[in-house]
């Protein structure tokens, strides 16, 4: 057991846990932030995607001990970011979600994409979103919503 100070959505949080615990489970069980989802545990589905130091990261394979002071942003906090808000609104406007379980991860990946590529091509979208699995397969609308959010941001 060790104690870690984490910066989550702009707030300092302290957790005491086993150093090997993936960030995903620290968020979900210690910090009770369940918007970040467990889908595979092996970084194969992207449901657990959060931003660590501004980079889209699969939180299911990153031990909490490796975070250090890099700021963490989760789905619960992404709405205060203009890009995050635009993506969430586009998702709602385009009626993207079905079961919705993967969408936290999809949105976090989409925001990361739009932050460095505001007008993504289909190929950009394939590359950035290619690791985010949606078993409902809402991909057509995910793609539409990303383009729409990009256009909103101008």
């Amino acid at each position: 057991m060790a104690t870690y100070r984490l910066n989550v959505n702009g707030r300092q949080r302290e957790v005491t846990t086993d150093p090997s615990t993936p960030l995903l489970w620290v968020l979900r069980e210690d910090l009770k932030m369940t918007g970040t989802k467990y889908g595979c545990g092996v970084s194969a589905c992207g449901a657990c995607t959060v931003h660590v130091g501004g980079v889209a990261t699969r939180s299911c394979v990153v031990p909490v001990s490796m975070i250090d002071d890099r700021p963490i942003v989760t789905i619960e906090g992404i709405g205060v970011d203009p890009v995050g808000r635009a993506v969430q609104n586009a998702w709602i406007d385009k009626d993207v979600v079905q079961c919705g379980y993967c969408q936290s991860g999809q949105i976090m990946s989409a925001v990361a994409l739009l932050k460095h590529t505001p007008k993504p091509t289909d190929l950009n979208i394939d590359e950035s979103m290619g690791g985010n699995l949606c078993r409902c397969a809402t991909y057509v609308r995910i793609r539409e919503a990303i383009k729409s959010a990009g256009n909103q941001l101008k």
Binding site: A44, Q98, A137, T138, R143
Partner: protein, 728 residues
Amino acid sequence: MITPAKDLSLNRRTFLRVSSVAAGGLLVSLYFDRSMLAQEAQTQPPPKVYPPDAFIRITPDGNIVIQVNRLEFGQGVNTALPMVLADELDADWTQVVAELAPAADIYKDPVFGIQMVGGSGSIAHSFQQYRELGAKTRAMLVATAASKWNVSAAQCRTEASVVFGPAGQKARYAELASDAARQNVPQTVRLKNPSEFRLIGKPVRRLDSRPKCNGSSKFGLDLDLPGMKVAVVAHPPVFGGKVKSLDDKEARAIDGVRDVFQIPVNLGGTGVAVVADKFWPAKQARDLLKIEWDLSGVQPADSMELFARYRQLATTTGNVAVTRGDEKALERIPSASRIVADFEFPYLAHAPMEPLNTTVRFDGERAETWAGSQFQTFDQMAVAQVLGLKPELVTFHTEMAGGGFGRRAVIDSHIQREAAVIAKRMQGTPVKLIWTREDDIQGGYYRPMHVHRVEVGIGPDGLPAAWRHVVVGQSIVAGTPFASLLIKNGVDDTAVEGVADSHYVIPNFHLSAHHPTVNVPVLWWRSVGHTHTAFVMETLIDELATRAKIDPIAYRRKLLKPDSHKLRKPLDLLETKTANWRLPRGHAKGVACHECFGTGVACAVEVSIENNRPKIHRATVAVDCGMAVNPLTIESQFQAGIGFGLTQLVSGGAITLKNGRVEQRNFDGFIPPYIVDVPVDIDVHIVPSTEAPTGCGEPPVPVIAPAVVNALAKLTGKRYRTLPLTNI
């Protein structure tokens, strides 16, 4: 804090329920005394009205809270059924709130008689029910206002949760709700004409989008209760295996582990449960268990061996499902005019995004369960049985579920049984059982593997004159309560649906099936038998059209029964919508159509070959699902259902077993479609209809794989009959 205030003078059957809510307001609901109804039932038949209190709550601030008698797991029913009710109620849609109903008799599917989601029946079965509920509640509110204003109900009209009187009077539903609760529930009520619909038939966005986009929506796996523990289970490596010896010393040494014990699991096997404060210690501890397994007496299933056995079986006639015309007609057709086609389909995992889970708390006399369940009635009974309780003593909460596709409609309730066994041992402590993704991929309940052998004799007109079809695959329902309903003459209908009821007119037709017993649990996988039967039918019909040098849509029209309007109309619409496709060199168009669960679908795709894989550039779908309740949801279901249907076409879309062990572990082995695998554009066109609505959950799935393979055949001249597609 419920304070019932009976008002027997007005109506003995109803009374007000007024309770305080957390926010400090009052909650007024229509409430019916069921015990009184039951007493009266002894002397007279109970009225056939649903007590609206079970479905609708009108709160003082005007919210209309509607109970949805289904699991929501993506199909959009927690928007569509509230739309249906709200339309007849003339409710203010901006104030409609949907809640998933717990397990209770009142929420059983009106057709199936159990509380469930399946057979694409949510709208088809509850459309009328929810319309009547809305209309009856509206009538009670109108009657209340009318008597207050001393006018007749017919002089009043309603809109957006307000009753309007003839002299400009206005009353909000929220003001009327408590008095309306004293009204008799009308036995009959006039429903709207479709021209009066305000919501039904309009594209309406989902009610659950925002919480699902900001992380606040709670799924079963997100449940957090005071004192809750988490359990994971080490399952036998071969179905039905048992623990021979267990060394849990290292596992117990993990900080946070509370208990380690053996439990019975499905198929007569045993496993080891680890209960810990949180998931991570539970999983770490499970990884450290040293278990020796007793695999004696369990059949080690092996995909290669099974396919060999199935292929052999497919050359012999099985139990007869359908026989029509002359069985010997085939033999009289010259061999040059015959096709013999062998098809192979692997096991498929559902792999819903939210891993399987269930939480149970048992206090010795009662229990509480939280689960995203497609089969609340069965799952509640299973928990009750394990705990030795009557089902009504198990409060069963329906949790929002992250996908399911049939995987949460498990006839043996094995997840709930495991959870209940663990909760019994941990009495007083709520325990959340989590199946990891590995448990899910390796845990069985797959779409059964199948082999089909079809011999077709082609007539001089190019149409099939004789058809002999053998299906080989495990029965999903053998030995279950569904057997008597779904197995006829030894044939499981879920294995032959889509062939047995084909809409193609084939004069001499013989269909039989073998159902070998295999030690792998199998289950319905979104669209069930149609996943493989539509592939066989639609690729063969396409092959016949090509041989006959007839346009594939025209050929299908020639062959369809004259009254197959649910396929004819989508085919016509598809033809119109794809007439202007200009195909670049190296691209081909493939089509397929199929009707299932009452809905007809026709699909066209534009395909090329890139890196030895089909590249699907676009898809167009035409659908006849009767009256379109929410065209936006239907469009979304069909776009995404096409993607889901590609699960069986992508190269990683197979579960295989070797020596009893499942060879895939996670999404790095069983690889469903990702965004690059689905077309950028999928257009959905709905045939206008005033017929009763039919399902849209499963019908999108079957058409895509045959449509793609039919396009590939144009490009390569080869017919692909083994899925998944590994080489083209």
